[in-house]
């Protein structure tokens, strides 16, 4: 993993024993399937979205609509690819952080490219972590461990 912040958002640190619900966003079908498996193997419930707008819809952040059910859709973590056509992962991050309902939710950015300016930009916008693709099981286990506030071996 390239970079991370402390998990201080108390709203979003979970009770141990709870199953985290992760929203994974990636335009690439193979990567979606992989990240889903990686997360399932780390005992997470997973919803996938193929682009930013769909992700926002699921989070109940589509502008002009108040989705009463999904206002608190109980998503504990968003993990998104950076390079996506249309809305990039960075833009998705911004929209989440600008919303009143979802701004505390941790957002992890993934990218196949290790570009320091890109990483800094995302961290400055409030990303929880930046991860390099292809993701490894150990990276995801570490991530979910931290999310569930457990004692993890580093």
């Amino acid at each position: 993993m390239a970079s991370s912040s402390t998990w201080s958002s108390s709203n979003w640190v979970m009770e141990s024993g709870d199953v985290p619900h992760v929203l994974a966003v990636d335009d690439n079908l193979i990567d979606r399937k992989l990240v889903e498996k990686l997360l399932r193997n780390s005992s997470c419930k997973v919803t996938t979205a193929e682009n930013g707008p769909r992700a926002l819809e699921f989070l109940g952040l589509t502008s002009g609509e108040q989705n009463p059910l999904n206002g608190r859709s109980k998503v504990n973590l968003v993990i998104t690819d950076y390079c996506m056509p249309g809305m990039t992962g960075y833009e998705l991050l911004k929209k989440i952080k600008e919303s009143s309902e979802m701004k505390e939710i941790p957002v992890v950015i993934m990218s196949s490219e290790n570009i320091p300016t890109r990483i800094n930009k995302c961290m400055e916008e409030g990303a929880q972590m930046f991860m390099l693709k292809p993701l490894k099981q150990s990276d995801v286990k570490k991530l979910t461990c931290q999310l569930m506030n457990r004692d993890c071996e580093i």
Binding site: N28, L29, I30, D31, K33, L34, K37, L38, N41, C83, P85, S112, K133, P134, K136, Q137
Partner: protein, 173 residues
């Protein structure tokens, strides 16, 4: 000469050669490690998805390069996709060609792009056939397997294992 031991050895060596020759990298191991009882066909599923996706992208690339006015941004977007997918499944050689392909797109170098396209098609068909061979032989239940080996080219050194219609019962790695 225990046929099963030979077969296991062949399979092991064949797989190892794919890594050794750079067709596959560590990421493919990661994929294999993700496979478990809840998802016993995971590797085949993901790789099959990759084949479908790659073929679609190769068609798009061929199409894009045959246009009079080549849209290099669109071309690059497709190569980026292929680069990502191939990296995700550990198809190293394809990934490597995609890197130089992207450079040619950036430079708007038509010749370079055409050359890269040809290379990537070649690498794709090679790794596809090798992986299909691997899956054919590995398709098995946890313990007992009936392996029907017909026309499978698995050579390692001097041992040429090209048996037609030999059916073997036993356990395979």
């Amino acid at each position: 000469m225990d046929v099963m031991v030979q077969l296991q050895r062949q399979l092991f060596d064949y797989t190892a050669s794919l890594f050794h020759e750079g067709f596959l990298d560590e990421q493919f191991n990661q994929l294999q490690q993700l496979q478990d009882e809840s998802n016993p066909d995971f590797v085949v599923e993901v790789v099959t998805l990759f084949f479908e996706d790659a073929e679609r992208l190769l068609n798009e690339l061929t199409n894009a390069l045959s246009q009079e006015n080549i849209d290099f941004r669109r071309l690059d977007a497709h190569v980026h996709q292929l680069k990502g997918s191939s990296s995700s499944i550990g198809a190293q050689r394809i990934h490597t060609v995609c890197i130089s392909f992207r450079n040619s797109c950036e430079e708007q170098n038509v010749e370079g792009c055409l050359k890269s396209l040809q290379q990537v098609k070649h690498e794709y068909s090679t790794v596809k056939s090798k992986l299909e061979t691997l899956f054919k032989v590995r398709r098995s239940g946890p313990f007992l397997v009936r392996v029907l080996i017909c026309n499978i080219e698995m050579t390692y050194g001097e041992t040429d294992f090209g048996c037609r219609g030999v059916s073997v019962l036993g356990s395979v790695i």
